[in-house]
């Protein structure tokens, strides 16, 4: 087990090195910083970006928006998912809404949100519309998959409803919820930055990307992209750890 983990890590490392190598080769091939800045130029730019006074406020603001959007989606997904999981009428009432939300193109939502809201709120709103259906769908699926025999057992032993919800339903849907959440978390950062690029809040990773693009600072675009990837990676890792912890229940 230990051996295969180290082995897997080696493969991952080799893969990252290959990625950097391909990147470097492409940069050499084009030989134009404007189109394809090399890894070392990007790294230098990244260092500059991090040391800029603008960096932490921007990262903080984007993180804040992402987390707010994500948490609101989780809360709404959990509550409405529970209602829909228990009641067929509520499920069918919500179904068209969820479908509309799920299928609306991200950019339509962004454009409308820019018309309707302040620039700071736009990314949160957009994230909510993108993430909520995922969480909601997983919660509903989780409730529908609760073991009927366990439920029957709990009812026959006259366990109180409140305890059936907290001690039977919630643990049963937790794996579904976490799978949905880690899936949603990855999407959150992509959506939030797309929305920020268009809505241009004062402090935002997306705004910085847009400014870099206007200034034709391709290396800076790369540097901010790297920052986003790192953020995404950290959150994915955290949620995966949580998910693995609870998977043993399944």
């Amino acid at each position: 087990m230990q051996n295969s983990t180290t082995k897997n890590r080696l493969f991952t490392l080799a893969s990252i090195l290959a990625l950097l190598l391909v990147w470097k080769l492409l940069a050499v091939f084009w030989n134009q910083e404007l189109i394809m800045p090399s890894p070392e130029i990007t790294l230098a730019k990244l260092w500059m970006v991090i040391n800029d006074t603008n960096f932490w406020p921007s990262v903080g603001a984007t993180l804040g928006r992402g987390l707010i959007g994500f948490l609101i989606s989780c809360a709404a997904g959990l509550v409405l998912g529970f209602c829909a999981g228990f009641s067929a009428p509520i499920y069918w009432l919500l179904q068209p809404w969820v479908t509309v939300i799920r299928t609306t193109p991200v950019m339509s939502v962004v454009i409308l949100a820019i018309i309707w809201f302040q620039s700071d709120v736009v990314p949160i709103f957009v994230t909510f519309l993108m993430i909520f259906p995922i969480i909601y769908g997983n919660v509903v699926a989780g409730i529908k998959n609760v073991d009927q025999q366990l439920l029957e057992m709990a009812h026959m032993y006259r366990v109180k409803i409140r305890r059936i919800i907290f001690e039977l339903y919630i643990p049963s849907i937790l794996p579904y919820l976490l799978a949905g959440a880690s899936n949603a978390m990855g999407i959150t950062w992509k959506v939030i930055i797309a929305a920020e690029i268009l809505s241009q809040p004062f402090f935002a990773i997306g705004t910085n990307l847009m400014i870099a693009k206007i200034d034709l600072e391709t290396a800076q675009v790369f540097a901010w992209t790297v920052v986003t990837i790192i953020i995404s990676f950290i959150f994915e890792y955290l949620l995966n750890t949580l998910e693995n912890k609870f998977r043993t229940w399944g």
Partner: protein, 240 residues
């Protein structure tokens, strides 16, 4: 006070599941309901436990009684340990100190003291069924309903579990309805055996088995005699 079912009828749509079925159970008695698959045994247990009512007929003696259950599946919560699983059904009824004491006692009695903090996934199938047995007895119930709890287990495991069950039951005699399609199980456990007909289920005959549980095994003369009676009953009506 006895538990009495008289002339129970139950239909699902056009399908007659139980027809004029009557039986009675003395307190602290263990009766076996023996019948082929699909003869309405589970339906009967559901009527007793009040999951749904009978279409016709009377049941008496069950008012205000609490019931515990042993199912064919262990039905344990895999996110709770052995003792938490038992606690799950006790929590709404007993105080913390009572629960601790009762859980410890029954976990001991089924031989799982060292495993009380294990999760079901860490236990073997037989151990899980022992937990279910401990849960059924730990629950402060007057009546125990058992729906083929030993079905599908290999012979060795089945024998061990039935022994665990019998020794627990002898110490703590709950009034029990034990449903099975297996003649051997009926012979080893039942004090009174109700043989049911095929669907619609009705009582074909009642056979009492007075051999003390400690002396029962399938080689025992008296048990073999009871077995003969059951076979007689089954073949007799086959000729009708």
């Amino acid at each position: 006070m006895a538990f009495i079912l008289s002339n129970i009828n139950k239909k699902f749509g056009d399908l007659y599941v139980l027809k004029d079925l009557s039986m009675s159970l003395e307190e602290h008695q263990l009766i076996c309901i023996l019948g082929p698959s699909g003869c309405g045994k589970t339906t009967l247990l559901n009527i007793i436990s009040g999951v749904f009512p009978a279409d016709q007929g009377e049941i008496a003696g069950f008012e205000g009684k609490t019931i515990s259950y042993l199912f064919q599946e262990t039905r344990l919560l895999c996110w709770k340990t052995v003792q938490e699983n038992i606690d799950f059904v006790l929590k709404d009824r007993l105080s913390k100190s009572q629960r601790t004491e009762i859980i410890a006692r029954y976990v001991d009695m089924v031989g799982l003291r060292d495993f009380k903090n294990y999760y079901p996934d860490q236990l073997s199938g037989g151990m899980k069924q022992r937990v279910a047995i401990a849960r059924a007895f730990a629950y402060p119930a007057d009546i125990l309903l058992m729906d083929e709890p030993f079905k599908g287990l290999d012979l060795q495991l089945k024998t061990a579990l039935m022994q665990a069950f019998i020794s627990l039951w002898l110490m703590d005699k709950r009034s029990a309805f034990f449903v099975t399609h297996d003649i051997d199980e009926a012979l080893l456990l039942g004090e009174k055996i109700y043989v049911l007909t095929e669907r619609p289920g009705a009582v074909k005959g009642i056979i009492s088995n007075d051999v003390p549980h400690q002396e029962r095994n399938l080689q025992n003369e008296n048990i073999r005699q009871v077995e003969q009676e059951i076979y007689q009953l089954l073949t007799d009506s086959g000729r009708e």
